[in-house]
């Protein structure tokens, strides 16, 4: 069934033990070599650890793709800024189309905890937090249990790990909004500078990393940075998880090395559902611009989709078949963004709502040719003039759909 040859697909890293029963338990995890990476990291010392992570080309897998070692290195030294510093795990996975963090936590919570402890050691943080979205209740309980086990086994050492649950805002998945939420405030993104690594939680240096990024750390430490870097492309090391959903035969989470062609991901997921023709693929969750069926050769690392005007994002691959109306897709996404816009800055708050209303009118049969010009102009005016990435998305997503599928829009918006 799977047309993908096993040869081109090296051993997975994060998902390799997923078939192991009772992997959530500490005993199983340790039997499979768990927490050896942490031991090795502690033994090797901070500088060597940082050097290995640097060599690995590990990049933030929450969507931004910022080099992890670079991020850590911007945390001011103890002499420059004495006092506590924090590591925060961003497990507020809310991007429609993304569900890899959920799987990672459900299947292998200790892998995350181990990675978190390595990161905490690397920046000398004594307090770490796991911020998990409120809807992930099962995962919260799994993490709670795993943390208790790890603590009882004395694995946390001097580090304390606290679990925090979100209250349901998509925007909390953005690092600075997440920190605001943790401080008990409204999830309104901050405007760097200063960046969280300089002044984050409670104004202290804070590293915010995604679940997937941190889960990679034990493996990098065990096998070396060079090994990890070699798995991927020159600029993005290792593997990456893709959450494949939409019109495919086998939706689910797939692990591939960085730089895999989009075509292979689609093939691994069993191709388009019901043998229909492919129309489009959203490569990284709804906030990334759409790719057409002709762009299936896009290389999926942080650079590949960018060349096509899109982003790898958090690897939420949404497959759309020939029956999909792209105006409906645009409306669906804008409705989501309108609902989730935090409301802090005006272009996003009003722009998303305006987009949604125009698109809704088009779907109801009231669209005019001028509406397309308005969408184009307003969308362009929002992008790059807002506080955070959500606002940028408002303009970018609809404009990409309009550019790549003009017929769909002309059918709904004409005089």
């Amino acid at each position: 069934m799977n047309p993908l040859s096993q040869k081109s697909r090296p051993d997975p890293i994060l998902t390799k033990d997923f078939d192991e029963p009772r992997l959530q338990e500490l005993e199983t995890y340790r039997r499979l070599g768990g927490y050896e990476g942490l031991k090795k990291a502690l033994a090797s010392g901070r500088e060597k650890l940082m050097a290995e992570i640097g060599k690995s080309n590990l990049r933030g897998l929450g969507g931004a793709g910022f080099a992890t070692a670079m991020k850590w290195s911007t945390v001011p030294s103890e002499e420059k800024n004495p006092g506590p510093r924090f590591v925060v795990v961003n497990c507020d996975e809310s991007e429609p189309g993304c569900f890899k963090d959920r799987v990672l936590v459900t299947k292998n919570p200790h892998q995350l905890i181990e990675g978190l402890l390595i990161a905490a050691y690397a920046i000398d943080a004594r307090h770490a937090f796991i911020f998990i979205r409120g809807e992930y209740e099962v995962q919260y309980k799994i993490l709670e249990k795993a943390l208790a086990e790890a603590k009882a086994a004395g694995l946390l050492g001097a580090c304390s790990i606290e679990l925090m649950r979100g209250a349901g805002a998509y925007i909390s998945g953005l690092d600075t909004a997440l920190l605001e939420t943790m401080e008990g405030k409204k999830a309104w993104p901050r405007q760097p500078p200063p960046f969280p690594t300089v002044a984050g939680l409670m104004g202290r240096p804070t590293v915010v990393n995604n679940v997937e990024t941190l889960s990679m750390l034990p493996h990098i430490v065990e096998n070396g940075g060079d090994w990890f870097a070699k798995l991927g492309t020159p600029k993005s090391g290792g593997t990456v998880l893709f959450s494949v959903s939409g019109h495919v035969e086998k939706p689910g989470v797939y692990e591939f090395p960085m730089g895999v062609p989009l075509r292979e991901i689609l093939a691994a997921a069993g191709g388009v559902k019901g043998g229909k023709k492919l129309k489009a693929v959203i490569p990284g969750g709804v906030s990334t611009p759409v790719l057409t069926a002709d762009e299936l050769d896009t290389v999926m690392d942080f650079e590949g989709p960018r060349a096509k005007g899109s982003f790898l994002g958090a690897g939420g691959v949404i497959v759309l078949d020939e029956t999909t109306d792209m105006v409906m897709v645009a409306h669906n996404i804008e409705r989501f963004l309108t609902h989730e816009s935090c409301g802090q800055c005006t272009p996003c708050r009003q722009g998303s709502f305006w987009h949604e209303r125009i698109l809704a009118r088009g779907l109801e049969g009231g669209g005019t040719a001028q509406d397309l010009a308005t969408l184009e102009r307003v969308g362009e005016n929002i992008t790059g003039k807002v506080i955070c990435a959500l606002g940028d998305t408002v303009g970018v997503v609809t404009r990409a759909l309009m550019k790549k599928f003009p017929e769909d829009f002309k059918a709904k918006f004409h005089d």
Binding site: F353, W354, T374, K385
Partner: protein
């Protein structure tokens, strides 16, 4: 001394303190870059996105309220790209704005109108219905909220958090459902609540006292000093005399802070009834008053306090101390003129110019009676005549006691209780009807200017004193 840096704004070299934002430095230099959320005393959240400027070497436009000025920085606020960014932000501010300018009090001094005429002037392509929200919600004794007009700049929530520290307002909801509202169970009732109408850049928060009274373009502005307490805040008196048939002829429309950012509610609303209870005509020729004073110069007590200007105090001294050699004075304000104070602006003494009198020795070398001892003196017959300057002894001592007096002269702008009992009433101007100076509690001498014509026979206090003295 902070380091100075020079940067370029629209081709003009500007100086700024190091770390100062471009927007603030431009404002200091008198160049206005459009903005709503930034306020010098309330910070720069950067949420209105109006102050976008083009910065050389940066691909995206930057908000100038968060852009630190640095040496050699080249900023363009008038370039086509910057203008487009500002106009698009304005357009988005106006998407759900009700555009009810004809019935909005802010009309004429509204940020949305100003920038639309300045940088907007586009033809609207909006075809959607406007979103609706709560209207004319009374927040407290002084302020009404219209959520539909609100642009969520958060100036008001920052004010109640940082300045009044009373935390009555918050932003509730999310996204386009977001709205400023009262924190459940609270009312907007703090000593500085009136400032919210000032800092609101649009018509969302309006002043209940000023609401629907007069359109702002009919107002005249005069620089003045608030007579509400011994702080002497610089204010701007907005008077409405062009259309007396409106608003029951009310002449003083509102007071606004000047120089300082804030004004307390006591000062702002303390003079709303400026023209009520006024003394009209002179009740007797001055010669009659003079001879009465001559007769009673030995049993005369004079009550005056800090509502006199420095000019008035001088003439007062010349008449009562130098000429009539009066021994009994009372300079203490009525007990109800001593109120609450705080660290921001408000002072305990609710009269403006005790200090001006003190500089001439009133209350220091020239001792003051107390209200109690004055009462005893009247009861004991030691004081048989009383000259009252804009104070209200009847309120403190009771009318019955004042009936024992053989002579009661009252001089002041308003009747009060005492004015009604006086044999001679000398109508005086109130502070908005004269030029003068007040000395505040720090010894700062500040000028206030005439904003209104005197009512009836009213004349400045110093003129009345001088005229009385001239004929003695």
């Amino acid at each position: 001394m902070t380091k100075k840096v020079t940067f370029t704004l629209d081709g003009k070299a500007l100086e700024a303190r190091e770390g100062q934002t471009v927007l603030e430095a431009a404002t200091d230099a008198g160049i206005m870059i459009p903005h709503y959320c930034w306020h010098r005393s309330l910070g720069n959240p950067g949420n209105c996105r109006m102050c976008l400027v083009e910065v050389e070497g940066t691909p995206k436009p930057q908000v100038s309220c968060r852009l630190p000025a640095r040496e050699g920085l080249v900023v363009k606020s008038l370039s086509p790209a910057a203008k487009r960014a500002q106009t698009s932000a304005l357009e988005l501010h106006l998407v759900d704005h009700p555009l009810d300018c004809p019935v909005c009090d802010q009309s004429g001094e509204c940020g949305l109108q100003d920038y639309y005429m300045g940088i907007g002037r586009y033809v609207s392509v909006l075809r959607e219905d406007k979103a609706h929200a709560k209207k004319r919600q009374v927040l407290g004794p002084h302020i009404v909220l219209d959520q539909e007009r609100c642009i969520l700049c958060t100036r008001c929530t920052r004010f109640v958090a940082q300045i009044s520290k009373s935390h009555e307002l918050g932003i509730f909801g999310r996204g386009h459902n977001e709205a400023v509202d009262l924190v459940p169970g609270r009312t907007l009732d703090n000593p500085y609540s009136g400032n919210l109408a000032d800092i609101c850049p649009v018509g969302a928060l309006t002043d209940r006292d000023f609401r629907f009274q007069v359109r702002v373009w009919y107002l005249d502005e005069t620089e003045s000093i608030c007579p509400g307490c011994s702080r002497g805040c610089p204010i701007s008196a907005h008077t409405s005399t062009q259309r007396p048939w409106h608003n029951k002829g009310r002449r003083l429309a509102r007071l606004k802070p000047r120089v300082l950012d804030w004004l307390c509610d006591e000062g702002r609303y303390g003079f709303s009834d400026f023209d009520s209870d006024r003394l009209g005509r002179l009740t007797a020729p001055l010669s009659e008053v003079r001879s009465a004073l001559q007769t009673h110069r030995d049993d005369l007590a004079v009550v005056a306090s800090g509502s006199l200007s420095n000019e008035d105090w001088k003439a007062f001294k010349s008449l009562f101390v130098d000429k009539l050699k009066v021994k009994r004075f009372l300079f203490t304000p009525e007990p109800d003129q001593v109120g609450s104070e705080d660290e921001l602006l408000r002072r305990r003494e609710k009269v403006p110019n005790l200090e001006g009198g003190r500089a001439l020795g009133f209350g220091t070398e020239i001792k003051s009676l107390t209200w109690e001892s004055l009462g005893q003196d009247i009861a004991g017959g030691r004081v048989r005549s009383l000259y009252v300057v804009d104070r209200d002894p009847a309120k403190v001592l009771g009318e019955k006691l004042l009936h024992k007096l053989e002579l009661l002269i009252y001089q002041g702008p308003r009747m009060g209780k005492t004015g009604g009992l006086a044999r001679y009433r000398l109508p005086a101007t109130d502070w908005l009807e004269e030029n003068g100076h007040f000395t505040n509690f720090q010894g700062k001498i500040q000028e206030y200017r005439q904003a209104l014509k005197p009512l009836g026979d009213a004349r400045p206090d110093w003129k009345i004193f001088a005229d009385l003295e001239a004929g003695l």
